[in-house]
Symmetry: C2
Subunit: 345 residues, 2 copies
Amino acid sequence: MPVKTIWSANGDVFLLDQTLLPVRKEVLQIATVEQMWDAIKKLRVRGAPAIGVAAAYGVYVAVKKEALDNVGADLVQVARQACDYLATSRPTAVNLFWALDRVRAEIAKNSGADLTARLLDLADRIRTEDDVACREIGRHGAALLKSGDTVLTHCNAGGLATASYGTALAPVYYATEEEKKHIAVYADETRPLLQGARLTAWELKEAGIPVTVICDSMAASVMRSGRISLVIVGADRIAANGDFANKIGTYMVALAAREHGIPFYVAAPLSTVDLAVPDGDAIPIEERASEEVSEIQGVAIAPDGVQVFNPAFDVTPHDFVTAFITEKGIVQPPFASGLKAQFFK
Amino acid sequence: MPVKTIWSANGDVFLLDQTLLPVRKEVLQIATVEQMWDAIKKLRVRGAPAIGVAAAYGVYVAVKKEALDNVGADLVQVARQACDYLATSRPTAVNLFWALDRVRAEIAKNSGADLTARLLDLADRIRTEDDVACREIGRHGAALLKSGDTVLTHCNAGGLATASYGTALAPVYYATEEEKKHIAVYADETRPLLQGARLTAWELKEAGIPVTVICDSMAASVMRSGRISLVIVGADRIAANGDFANKIGTYMVALAAREHGIPFYVAAPLSTVDLAVPDGDAIPIEERASEEVSEIQGVAIAPDGVQVFNPAFDVTPHDFVTAFITEKGIVQPPFASGLKAQFFK
């Protein structure tokens, strides 16, 4: 069972600082909304579903702090500002905006009950729902796996990317733990921030699941050599037509999978589906600092001042996707109707 | 003009230690054949053509040292042993074996002249021929480039991979210097050893040619966005049918280029063509230490003891290649006849 990534205890909010893994396992207490913004921006907490949970807890800590510091403050105003502020942390994962929309709806209720308590309750609920959704993704996805299969995945869409069970790795965990199937994983290291080598390899190793780390550029030849049964990746935003944004490099994996006739699955909760976005061209792609590429753990690996291009995500067109795995089941093409239908299940 | 990578001066042999670039520019004097073996193995000197030159100088230093240390020694025997020993340094680049075959032929001549002098002369000649071949590759390849083009390349097949002018980068240098065309380059960083970020970016920056570093996994989406006019890569061994081995990740670049209708060229001297090998399946692929993937510059980036797969090269099937660029000209398909014909030009 994967480790806890973000949680509350006695009204305090904690998260595991993922930038230090696998070398150090350090828990941060988050006491201000600025700390939460920073944790999201710097990828201390990352992965689309976990970012949604983090945003909800972020609004809660903003209101809690203000209520303590400044008796009689306009907490509704503070909560709304916190929503707007947290929305600026990262642009691509839609789960952030989805969670903030739910928080805004809660704020607007303006019921008699204490706002602070309601926000904590909502954040805890979003966290629990994510747990349940991931488990359901695991259950549905496990049906696609048979004992002896080897899954290739990119980046980390495991337990560390969610409140607990993961999206892309959920079928692997479920098939292993609940169905006693033997599943092995190839983990792309996932440059620039190495979430595959640092996080996916770490959590699978902790769970006792065989994992082999490869450089991203090896995926195509590993597929060509017959080592891979299927690909499962996560998503940061899925457009209405099934085009989806995920960690940079996912598109290249999809190309290689199609070339070698290997099924390519995308696992994500419905909170990742953005029906308001018609196709992948409309998904905003975050560009990040050049130092993420030109330095690794503070060590320069490129000439000083060299030009770098560092998009954090890419868009994979829907026709590369074999099927989506959500908490409601498997979505086969055509995706435009199939994804929409999931919301009414 | 690129920097010198390996050369002799007054009978001494020197090389630029490429493992330290771009942070430090350190020249090593090579006084023993063991030092040369180590320099090849550890990639202090690397790139298929440069490895060939290094091997020839390696045999020379073996004989020179023995002649000094041990008057009356059987130098022919020493030279032959040095050939066998250096052949074990790296398995994939055929230029190593090609150069050693020339050295063996020189040894066998058994002329009256001093063997030490003949071996130095041969090594210098192989080095000069490489210079000339690279320049000719540049001249032929430059005809494929028009001003404003952007070339994507993988790994380093530049001046640092040869005695001086480069193979994949030779057309870029020639078009820029001799034809005053404006050419820009996207350099894949090329994990695990980052020869693209460390070496290609460095030598192009030194030459004043615009270069942008990207992670390997970004190549496909950079192509999809329309930024790339053509791809040029080098080769470590080209089979008789045109299948070729090059740095791991080249196959993925070829897949992406074909998907986006981008021409994909392979630039290499004829010493890289191995007519004795019918196709790519027969090319030996070197697997290297797992630490090259799990550590970067000595810093761990994956959990301790995790399983790693680290093939140093991959094979790209010939049908992904638009054309080969050799010192004799451009080779269009069908490659089986075209490559062979180059040897009789």
